[in-house]
């Protein structure tokens, strides 16, 4: 016979105001399995918890029902208390008589009846509970950081500095990400390269950081603490160990027409190239799309002809003999315990062709086809000392300094008609920065900024935008731009000044569009590989918008920077450090404990139809061969890997013979609840 204790909480007046707690305790006391039933003002307080603990000892309880608030609030509290008193934590359940009873009903007899029903149902459930032990899982204390921009670098350095191993996978040939393209940074106007390069070098040289550049994540298997990642190391054609970085290959390369990605297409580069002078590792890579040899090879293969060596001047010029045209992609497997996703962003483009059906370009801006209409990152390159103009702000069309420049904020952002309704967060700030950089570069020039609102909420941000408007002399016009076209050699910008209530036209030499921040291309495919979710735009979903902002719903995978939402540098770095803290907490023990809410298969009755396997989103179902003594396979049945199982119970419901039980929500427990509640 079960010996169950019931503890009804008043929650001060929160429950007692509408529920007659004493009556609830009294009526449940009659239940044949209940050996003690009490009510108390604050069950979660120390004296309240002691009441539970004492009753466990005194009555030898084998089950506890606490009727109080939501189990989301205090189930852990009471399970811990019971555990301290020697009762298995999983023999404790809560009846939610606050949020789902007292707070939504008036003080009527029905409310008390409902509370009693909920408690009785929980008593019936607890009778079916069995002791469970937390699942212990070994942890591989190595972190995988996807993305080598500022967020990825920060997370990697924080983790490595704490003495744990880190693997960085960066898609591009160099670390650095978009931050390395910026000229100066707001709100201090310090040089981006100057603050970033040392961190890149630190990461590169750190003994605990292993760096895979020009590589992507191919596959992630396993579960928290025990992932196995497959990394696709793209064929670089340059052996970075023997390469001295002398640059002789680039001097001889005849293919010079590839648009330079780092300079946002504002100049061209050779097919063998180092993305930028401070690249880490500072070793070139051969871009196979533009290399004459690889182009010839692709053509030969397509026509079914033999492959012959073409050009290969770089290899001949290489004194270190580091260039080879033989190698292809390489797949590398690594074991990791946690993953930080820091894949960053791309800019929305105003062009006609859009990557998503819901996005639309800006036909009214001529789809941005005019060379003197640039986006924010292009302007960064024009303003950067290492950029194509050596830091002089010049019109791409004619190399002249723009006497009048127009900045248009919220291009794409906050514009549902174009498909993006969110605020990109950083454009108000960088446009202010751009306006200042322009005024420093082109003396006496006119800068006009079209804005919708100025959102400058960070530390020192508002003062910064004010400086742009009030000291640098940028004309801030609150309004939108309806058309840009070229007439008489000028870019005619037609807009409206909504504060002045007048349409206005600016004859400009250059227009800078603060285009929206979007997640990296391929983010959805990556998310699917990692089994994490993303929103309609492809930004990765955090587990909770406020309380778990850097975690995902997949245990052991964390988010930093623009992969989750538009972020500026300080926010990205803060997020990165937060993920590092989460990773380090996970790595602080050699084993981690997990709630034992997992599915189990009754192998005696399993018929091996594997409907469970088809329904499992986590791949937790394995095949187990049942053998006789001579080793002959009799049957193949399902088996669930408790480390992978997340405890949803979809397999249990899909099992036709009900041979799968979900601990914590077993058939017996659910059945008992239904029986008690339906009558």
């Amino acid at each position: 016979m079960a010996r169950i204790g019931v503890f009804v909480c008043h929650c001060g007046e929160n429950i007692a105001r509408t529920v007659d707690c004493a009556a609830v305790a009294g009526s449940v006391a009659d239940h044949p399995s209940v050996v003690c039933s009490v009510d108390y003002k604050y069950m979660c307080s120390d004296p309240g918890q002691n009441l539970v603990k004492d009753a466990i000892t005194e009555h030898g309880l084998d089950g506890v029902v606490v009727a109080a608030c939501s189990p989301h609030m205090h189930l852990k509290t009471f399970r811990r208390a019971a555990s301290n008193a020697g009762l298995n934590a999983y023999l404790v359940e809560m009846a939610n008589i606050r949020e789902q009873c007292a707070w939504i009903h008036p003080r009527t007899p029905e409310t008390t009846v409902k509370a009693t029903d909920l408690v009785r149902a929980m008593v019936e459930k607890v009778k079916q509970n069995v002791p469970l032990e937390p699942i212990r899982i070994p942890v591989t204390p190595t972190a995988l950081v996807i993305g080598g921009g500022i967020a990825g670098i920060q997370a990697a350095l924080d983790i490595a500095e704490a003495g744990r191993d880190v693997i960085i996978v960066e898609k591009e040939p160099s670390l650095g990400g978009h931050m390395s393209q910026l000229s100066e940074t707001f709100p201090t106007l310090d040089c981006s390269q100057c603050i970033l390069t040392p961190r890149m070098v630190d990461a590169y040289q750190h003994p605990r950081i292993k760096l895979y550049t020009y590589s992507e994540v191919e596959k992630l298997e396993g579960y928290i603490g025990n992932f196995e990642v497959t990394i696709r190391k793209k064929g670089r054609s340059v052996d970075i160990d023997t390469c001295t970085g002398c640059g002789a290959c680039m001097e001889v390369c005849p293919s010079k027409k590839a648009l330079d990605e780092f300079d946002m297409g504002l100049r061209t580069r050779t097919a063998v190239y180092t993305p930028f002078p401070q690249a880490v590792p500072n070793k070139p890579v051969i871009d196979r799309e533009h290399c004459l040899h690889y182009k010839a090879e692709a053509r030969a293969i397509a026509r079914g002809k033999p492959v012959k060596a073409v050009c290969q001047k770089c290899a001949k010029a290489c004194a270190a003999d580091a260039i080879s045209f033989d190698g292809g992609d390489e797949l590398i497997k690594e074991k990791v315990g946690a993953v930080v996703v820091a894949t960053g962003f791309q800019l929305y483009s105003v062009a006609k062709d859009q990557p998503e059906p819901y996005l639309e370009g800006y036909g009214e801006y001529g789809y941005g086809a005019d060379p003197d209409i640039v986006d924010g990152l292009q302007f960064e390159r024009l303003a950067s000392a290492s950029g194509p103009t050596g830091g002089k702000i010049l019109c791409p069309s004619n190399g002249q300094a723009p006497k009048t420049i127009v900045f248009i904020q919220c291009t794409g952002s906050r514009d549902p008609a174009k498909g993006i309704e969110y605020c990109s967060g950083v454009c108000c700030m960088y446009t202010a920065k751009h306006a200042m950089l322009y005024q420093h570069s082109v003396h006496g020039g006119r800068a006009v900024v079209f804005y919708m609102d100025i959102r400058a909420t960070g530390k020192g941000y508002d003062a910064f935008t004010r400086r742009a408007a009030e000291e640098s002399g940028a004309e801030y016009v609150r309004g939108r731009v309806s058309a840009i076209y070229r007439a008489d050699g000028k870019l005619v910008v037609k807009g409206v000044d909504t504060l002045g209530g007048e349409p206005m036209t600016v004859q400009a030499d250059m227009v800078v569009l603060a285009t929206a921040i979007r997640p990296q291309p391929g983010i959805k495919e990556l998310a699917q590989k990692l089994s994490i979710s993303y929103d309609q735009h492809g930004f990765l979903n955090e587990a909770h918008p406020k309380l778990r902002p850097v975690e995902t719903n997949t245990a052991g995978i964390f988010l930093a920077g623009c992969s989750q939402a538009p972020r500026d540098i300080p926010d990205s770095v803060a997020m990165a450090s937060a993920t590092a803290a989460k990773v380090l907490a996970l790595f602080s023990r050699s084993e981690m404990e997990r709630e034992p809410q997992v599915a189990k298969v009754d192998q005696a009755t399993c018929s091996g139809c594997f409907h469970c396997e088809r329904a499992c989103a986590y791949g937790a179902v394995e095949h187990l061969e049942v053998k006789d003594r001579r080793g002959n396979v009799l049957r193949v049945v399902a088996q669930i890997n408790p480390g992978v199982c997340q405890g949803c119970g979809t397999c249990a419901a899909n099992c036709p013979s009900k041979s799968i039980e979900l601990d914590g929500f077993t058939d017996a427990q659910v059945f008992a609840s239904i029986q008690a509640l339906s009558l």
């Binding site: 006609k352 036909g363 001529g366 058309a483 076209y485 008489d488």
Partner: protein, 297 residues
């Protein structure tokens, strides 16, 4: 080929040449237009400015009649008519309650409205018929294709062409041998219905359009809307007044242009009705043709 046809009021009055050129053209193309019986005014632009329900019910009546007549589509050459008919169809399709209300007022059942086709889309679809019949290619006549507002807007109603960078008129003009120029005021408003109430504004707006067309080297402006035509044609002397170097710029309906390329009689198409004389243009074209033929022979 057969199409449903809604002439609308303008084509019987100020835009007679639009009607004449269209009908001459379809005759030459062997295309039959079935006029909607007992059609009424589309309501533009006073009805929808006065009473929303009236603004929908007026064109909806025409749609219902056409549907009853078994017409799958209606060619509405006037851009304003096109806008009102397509707008009404869009509104009643998206709002069952409104549809019921309108059906109640009209005392007619409303099913699926016919497809509404504007004059540019109509000609585009007929290009395979038109091109073999082009006997007087326009010798690269530089034309400024002027869309105005109503062919394209609101885009969710018209779903026609690119709303900001359209190409359809250029396509049609190029197909008959004209050279569309690249210019900037293609989709600007001409002032439309303010022609009488705020003439000054209309003159200013029209002047900007014509100036831009001239700057781009256009020899003629091509339109698909009676309102645009009357503003740019009838008021052109006022627009050109005091403008140094502002020569008269003929404003042609796109149907007229296509008809000229097909060698149709300018008079039958009403080209003599224009305020800005089309004669210099016709002379230039016939010289060009004569030269071309001379070379051949």
């Amino acid at each position: 080929m057969r199409f449903g046809y809604y002439p609308g009021c303008s084509l019987h009055a100020t835009a007679r040449e639009f009607s004449e050129s269209l009908l001459t053209l379809v005759k030459a193309l062997d295309v039959q237009l079935d006029e909607v019986e007992d059609w009424a005014c589309c309501g533009a632009s006073s009805a929808h400015a006065t009473n929303h329900l009236l603004g929908v019910a007026l064109p909806a009546r025409t749609l219902a009649i056409a549907e009853g007549q078994g017409l799958d589509n209606i060619v509405a050459p006037c851009a304003a008519c096109y806008g009102r008919l397509a707008g009404a169809a869009h509104e009643i399709e998206g709002d069952a309650a409104l549809k019921g209300q309108v059906a109640e007022i009209l005392k007619r059942p409303l099913g699926t409205p016919p497809e509404i086709i504007n004059v540019v889309g109509f000609l585009q679809s007929l290009l395979p018929e038109i091109q073999p019949r082009v006997v007087k290619p326009l010798d690269g006549l530089k034309v400024a294709c002027y869309y105005g507002c109503l062919l394209l807007r609101p885009h969710k109603v018209t779903r026609f062409d690119d709303r900001e960078q359209p190409e359809s008129m250029e396509q049609v003009c190029a197909a008959v041998g004209a050279t569309p120029v690249a210019w900037n005021k293609r989709i600007e408003c001409c002032g439309a219905g303010f022609s009488l109430s705020r003439t000054g504004s209309v003159i200013r707006m029209g002047r900007e359009i014509l100036d831009d067309a001239r700057a781009a080297g256009a020899e003629a402006v091509v339109v698909g809307c009676p309102m645009c035509h009357s503003n740019l044609d009838m008021r052109q002397p006022a627009m050109n007044r005091g403008q140094a170097g502002a020569g008269a710029l003929p404003v042609l309906y796109i149907t007229e242009l296509v008809g000229l390329a097909m060698g149709l009689d300018p008079k039958a198409m009403g080209l003599q009705r224009h305020y800005v004389s089309t004669q210099p243009l016709l002379d230039r074209l016939s010289t060009a043709v004569a030269v071309a033929e001379g070379e051949v022979s």
